[in-house]
Amino acid sequence: MRAVDALMECLKAEGVDVVFGLPGGANLPTYDAFYDAGIRHILVRHEAGGGHAAEGYAKATGRVGVSLGTSGPGATNLVTPICDAMMDSVPVVFLTGQVRTDLLGTDGFQEADTIGITMPIVKHSFLIQHPLELPRSIHEAFHIARTGRPGPVVVDIPQDLSRADIPYEPVGDVHLPGYQPTTDGNQKQIRLAAKALANSRRPVIYAGGGVVSANAGDELTELATSDRFPVTCTVMGLGALSGTHEQWLGMLGMHGTRTANYAMDEADLIVAIGARFDDRVTGKLSQFAPRAKFIHIDVDPAEISKNVPAHIPIVGDARNILPRLTAEYRALSPDPSRLEEWWTRIRTWQQRHPLGYTDSTDAEIKPQYMIEALYEATGGDAIVTSDVGQHQMWAAQYFHFDRPRRWINSGGLGTMGFGLPAAMGAKVGCPDETVVCIAGDGSVQMNMQELATCAQEGIAIKVFIMNNGYLGMVRQWQELFWDKRYSQVEMGQWPDFVKVAEAYGATGIRLQDKHTLVADMKAALATEGPVLVDVRVTREENTYPMIPAGKPARDMVG
């Protein structure tokens, strides 16, 4: 059979039920194979939309997403999703077309060095150099994408090789001698960590996206409740512990709660799980958690002691390690009363510094209220994606995610235009769930073209644009740190999102009255098909609290 037909067999063997892509010259053979392969293909309007959709699918379902583009511009359009998937450890296999092998290196039409361009931003990549390599490379790509610390894998397939006739035999187990991720945590280290926890007076559990990737939300909750350990999460980890749990401190970091950041600042022991001490979490590194010792649990050994030296490193999968740590901890039967003083301190912070804002006295919709209204309108029962900016931080603060994989955003790369296509992918992966995108009026325009895809494929996402007519987060920084010199942040009233929605075959709604907002949102959520809701909010509202960049946590403002 043709190599591309073998490719289809490989995708099926990997359990792929849907791919997101866009054809072109170099991947014509692949698209011919899709014609009767029986795999759902969703034709996106821009490869970046397809890449982010594959990410949204992967984040919502935990399965490997698949995204396709042709050579040259098709592949370069995928660069942003590839980098995004790398930064947030999302398992996606990107299949790119490449020019014929006799044209490689000649600046042929639509030729780009895809492997070279993407090398710094992939977990691994394959340039197919012989058609017989293709099936094994595909399986290796899926294996690498989904195991260990997940990430993006690119497979670049020259057009002529993809047409070659090959004898296809299903590939058994893949064997990669240079790739053997450690999943089992070291028992001695786990025991030491349990002892340290038992001897701590002011512990904090700091959980990141790794807990979500490892599907270890229940195991985290079990550890947290084996005593009264306070828990905070990064923006990637939200939902790992329920946002309504009494041990929940709120998100930490630049726009985290004061309680979470102050607790980190005063902790004597921090248990970092699947988190990587990003600068948006630590603030000024030299003054980060100055009193704390660190237990660092991560499947990627290179994360341990990268930014903050660990005292007890444990390499492995959180789902493997956390139950063992909980068991070891319980066996020590520590005295829970030692944490009382710590909780008194935490409760004081929570009472003194709750998240809050001054609501309007008229019909004006405050952006924070918009999130609260959406939480109420959905009953909290939704998968929520977001773009990047103020709306993302407010969503993280005010939408109380009750379990993992309900909050899908671009944390590491901070990709504007991520939310809408990610919602599309999440909805395809979880068709029975309500999928909501909280977008910015700036961000949404970066991948709005995928509304056409949603209309064509009947993908009923509900997009709520927090419209303040600004690139709001940049405007906020210009207000606070650049003497209010607003430079190129004014978006004005363009486009008319209601008309845009209608032009794309979606339903467009404009909301500007606080008093009917919840009811109006419920109506929008109940509307069939894709819906784009233009919510007009207070134009100049700032996201608080905030650790100014490069400052320590205790210098939070707002």
């Binding site: 340290a196 038992a198 010792k293 660990a310 520590p334």
Partner: protein, 185 residues
């Protein structure tokens, strides 16, 4: 910490950070990689984007056709070596990495020196070559090409001694290394 809260005593004060430290010495790192196209690019790219600076780099075959050995030297005063090796380990084509212990390692490099050596200088240069067991591999009326092998430091010492005679040019391979004794590097 005050009194322990459990029967098992462990003061948090006893815990030391275990990595991320600068060692302050030169490190020789031996890396076995799959002999595939693009592998060196991946390694070089990793060093470039993480800001690691390679002092020397030598690449060559091993006893196994499918495997190449990359030997590189790095300054442990500038780089956290454990972070370097852990990042390298993440490359799928990297099979094995050893940060070689100085006392248990044989390291050699090859260097070629082109020297001014006419008249009286020639005898003196030849004497230095003798001491360093260097080999003269090319002679003209006014110049010599000398081959030296040895550790990085030995080649450095040789360079310092012959430089005053007029060093026209020099080429060095960078160190390769292998562990002492029976066990594999």
């Amino acid at each position: 910490m005050g009194e322990p809260a459990t029967k098992e005593v462990l003061s948090l004060d006893e815990l030391d950070a275990v990595a991320g430290l600068r060692t302050g010495r030169k490190h020789i790192v031996s890396i076995l990689v799959e002999n595939k196209p693009g592998v060196l690019t991946r390694i070089a790219g990793l060093f470039a984007r993480r800001g690691f600076n390679i002092d020397t780099l030598a690449v060559g075959p091993t006893d196994d056709d499918a495997v190449s050995r990359i030997t590189l030297t790095l300054d442990g005063a500038v780089h956290p070596i454990d972070q370097v090796t852990k990042q390298l380990h993440k490359l799928v084509n990297v099979l094995k990495i050893r940060d070689l212990e100085p006392g248990e390692t044989l390291a050699r490099e090859l260097a070629l020196f082109k020297l001014n050596a006419d008249g009286a200088a020639r005898a003196e240069v030849m004497q230095i070559c003798d001491i360093f067991r260097a080999k003269v591999v090319d002679v003209t009326k006014r110049s010599l090409v000398v081959e030296v092998t040895g550790t990085y430091d030995k080649v450095d010492a040789f360079e310092a001694l012959v430089r005053p005679f007029g060093l026209i040019e020099m080429a060095r391979t960078g160190e390769i290394a292998i562990s002492r004794g029976r066990s594999e590097t």
